[in-house]
């Protein structure tokens, strides 16, 4: 535990959280929201299409959407790591944080499974299989849980 306490008490943390500069904490926090918009927004589009509730966009044509999923994920992995370091000792003891991480991992695995089954085949039919639809519904649910858990973490922060 002392490793995480060390991160939380480091000179970097002190500068990051104490700095009046908007380029420290506020900008990293905002990047985390921008990354979320790109990552979850792109996932929503794919999942909603596979669920047949957003018209008949050709499924294979949505393949480039996965580039945005990875761009958004990279932004949030980087910004999330910085935010984690500055609250490391609190977060490793925070069950909501683990709910968030687990639901992000599940949502990503599910949206990749949707890709293999419904998006990748060049001659994919206009209606995705029942399995692909179930995976898309589960992915949507997991993203929603991740967002709610992430928001709640701000309220459960140790004082």
């Amino acid at each position: 535990m002392s490793f995480f306490q060390g991160l939380q008490d480091s000179a970097f943390t002190e500068w990051f959280l104490g700095s009046p500069s908007i380029w420290a904490y506020p900008t990293v926090l905002t990047l985390h929201t921008v990354g979320m918009a790109i990552l979850v927004g792109a996932s929503f589009v794919i999942n909603l299409r596979v669920l047949q509730v957003s018209g008949l966009i050709p499924l294979h044509g949505l393949r480039p959407m996965y580039r945005f999923i990875w761009i958004g994920f990279a932004i949030n992995l980087a910004s999330g790591l910085v935010l984690f370091v500055t609250e490391a000792a609190d977060r490793v003891l925070d069950p909501v944080f683990y709910v968030k991480l687990a639901s992000i991992a599940a949502a990503l695995v599910l949206v990749m499974a949707v890709k293999r089954r419904a998006i990748d085949p060049p001659a994919s039919p206009l209606v995705a299989s029942g399995l692909a639809r179930s995976l898309a519904a589960a992915s949507l649910t997991m993203w929603t849980i991740a967002i709610v858990a992430g928001r709640l973490m701000a309220y459960l922060k140790a004082k």
Binding site: P26, T33, A37, G61, L152
Partner: protein, 162 residues
Amino acid sequence: MGHFAAWLESTAISKTLFDISWLWPACESLHFIGLCMLIGGAGLLDLRLLGMFRGLAIRHVKALMPWAIGGFLINLTTGLLFLVMQPHLYLTSGVWWAKVAFLGVAGANALFFETRLAVPALALDPDAETSTVMKVVGGLSLFSWFAVLYCGRMLPYLGTGN
């Protein structure tokens, strides 16, 4: 604005809503979910207008618009609840007014698309190149929605006077 904020804050509805402890975090979560629906749905149309996602016809991509509009309505509702609960935080903040201004830009841009560009855009083939005007409209839409996001997220740290 300070007077209006003080009046709004003194109303029974403002106090009642603010006293519901779970309402603020619940609205925040919904505001983030609505944001993803809006940026996801509108973003794909914007990228297609910019010339990306060849193979997708704009008339197909437009089928996501009800989800983008739904996300916007979720955010308008939750945003108004934030405003009623904590009027000072927003009405006296320059950043909040900048957010409202960018919302105006995004709205006017969407209206321009609907009234002037939708007919030719919806007729385009799936692989067709888009016109310069379409690229400008797509780029301006993306820029203004991310500017709205930026102002909203930075609001507690910029220009609230504390």
